[in-house]
Point group: C2
Chain length 438, copies 2
Amino acid sequence: MADYIEPRVLKGFRDFLPQAEMIRRDLSEKIENCFRSFGFSPIDTPALEYADILLGKGGGETEKQIYRFKDKGERDVALRFDLTVPFARFTALHREELVFPFKRYHIGKVWRGENTQRGRYREFTQCDFDIIGSDSAAADFEILLLIRTALLSLGLDVTIRFNHRGLFNNFLSHIGQREKSVEVLRAVDKLAKVGADETRKTLTELAGEANAQKILDFISANRTLGSGSFTETLARMTELSGGASPESQRLAQLRQYMNDAVGCDDTFILDPSITRGLDYYTGVVFETFLNELPDIGSICSGGRYDNLAGLYSKDKDAISGVGSSIGLDRLIAALESLGKLPASKGCALAIACVNIEHSGRYQALAQKFRQSGVPCEVHSEGDGKQLVKQYVLAEKKGLRWVLVPGENPHDPVTLRDLAARKNRELSVEQAIDAIRKE
Amino acid sequence: MADYIEPRVLKGFRDFLPQAEMIRRDLSEKIENCFRSFGFSPIDTPALEYADILLGKGGGETEKQIYRFKDKGERDVALRFDLTVPFARFTALHREELVFPFKRYHIGKVWRGENTQRGRYREFTQCDFDIIGSDSAAADFEILLLIRTALLSLGLDVTIRFNHRGLFNNFLSHIGQREKSVEVLRAVDKLAKVGADETRKTLTELAGEANAQKILDFISANRTLGSGSFTETLARMTELSGGASPESQRLAQLRQYMNDAVGCDDTFILDPSITRGLDYYTGVVFETFLNELPDIGSICSGGRYDNLAGLYSKDKDAISGVGSSIGLDRLIAALESLGKLPASKGCALAIACVNIEHSGRYQALAQKFRQSGVPCEVHSEGDGKQLVKQYVLAEKKGLRWVLVPGENPHDPVTLRDLAARKNRELSVEQAIDAIRKE
């Protein structure tokens, strides 16, 4: 006879307790500040949309994973499974209200009924950022630089491997395999996951043994020859793809930008084996790896696309763009294993309750700290006889200081340093200074 | 033969364009900073939960409004319709991991299939904050002070009307109507909405004419006698409820705290007609009104409850608490009509593109501004011949400045003030200073 409901969360969903949520919010704020410093603006879209909009041409994995249902008005609705499709719909709908080139970011939750056995979550946070309405190489570069800057601001050194799908397609045309582009690019994208032998097998089935070899030569152009420098790699790719083209020129232009902007450090590597699995990319594509933790794979990928909102637009010019996405969960996992999770900006000080009658005065005291930029909580229970109990409580909460107020408003206060287990008698102003200094 | 999907959003759902979303995020950040300054910690819970958990004992309005469906694993799931029920479930589930008293805030979206004709949204954001695990009057007061401080930080003067449900119930006991408490409190809660006549009618049906009159006398104790001061009002309420009680003492204690902490300004008013509609409140209850815009009703309400997690707990002591909730949408609407929406902290500066070959250098220049705390975007298209076009673009985006780089890296730059329509020739350092000063 259970007269209570067993508390539980759905498989693949998570509660975030204070410590974890504080980290998530602080991290997300840091990334957001970086987006803003580049002049990117935030947008938001509904969690729930018409299913036909989210599914688009539909089919495949998406259809299997999406949370879809009929609402009370019998509408066929679904939870968004990424931020890209809603952005395409958003752009088509608000085209006249937006100023192009439009630089936006979007941080939000998405939902997928993933197989949780693969360690995937069914609710997770994405941070997307794009520049749309510009086909310029300068826009490509800005996205690459933004990735580098955002991750550096978190203390992470990264390597961004980039390529140009158009140049890859030029090469496929050159060897007469252009019509197999989608399959070939997908097969190459899986190289790191399935290994060289499996990839050769797939490519051979697709294009024959000789062409498979040519494709393998092309995608290893940065590893097989000379120093593997950008110049050598691009020269080889250009040659294999039938000579100079707008696509090879764009890669050269990007290299020039990288050199001018950041002195061409080792962040950016031209890698012809980067292709990205998604079909809609048409230009530059890239993946980002942590130098200290390359094995977790790309933590921020993206590329250039020709026609963002085409599926939702009538009689309109295509809107091209370039964008990328950071998976917050993977990023946090990475920072955690590197011991680089940022220290929380949370509260470090509590005012002890010596006499519950004086709690109003304690709040007035706390306001002095808060107004000086020092977060401060106030204990709502306790008395002066059992201060140790209040120290223990504050320590359990991860605080650093407890301030014990005097008997009268203008008496000095006692500042307890929980880490050093030492007390100091100070004026309120001295206590504020002491804490701000640390 | 439509070969495109009509872009649209579900009724009651909204896209947020850059300007609106920037405001929402900045506002939410300000409120969040205030929560943190009081030592409150953030938590998060899933958007989707088991339906039986969200519906609890079920029934009524909730059941009609909730988005509920079967997921692909045939689980009966639903989108959260508030942040209170998930918090109760969260507290029961993580009881052993939390340190009490526990002060938490939770800012998140909730979903209700409301009737949109009443101007309601089906997706909206709530900001909840609670102190649980303390029955202290000091905790009650902290929540009241936090409401005042948070709204003051947004430039809003408020009046917080508070009452004590326990004292109201003492009064009902005194007149022999305690068993009708739920219905009476609900009827009184609707007073402002339905008017005095309708309320008298309902109360008469519930308790008879004489008792209805007594109830009306009680709830106007602050308006019918003398100055309506706190002391007079409390004395009258105490008398009508049969004499001094722990509940009347708590109100007196709160008044003492208000006096000690904020010099008893006019923020806090004891108002016996405040009862709140929700059944679970047992102690202090309150509503918050904007002094400049009282007619929009309470923008932040709440109260004390005896047993937060009881529905999800087996063999456990009750966890009491006190909490409140700000509706972000109503708050924004209010700020908007008062002309008090905070100015956006967005980007105000763009670097013009004079020569697309130099875009790498422009980014290096932009990094200098960004590193000095000045957000800066870089135009990815254009040339030096059509600078006016770039000025117009920047103005459309709401920027204040355009910086036109020199031909060579160390040349002076031209800073265009779009508002004043004036150019100045400056060094980069001078330009940074000029913008930071404004």
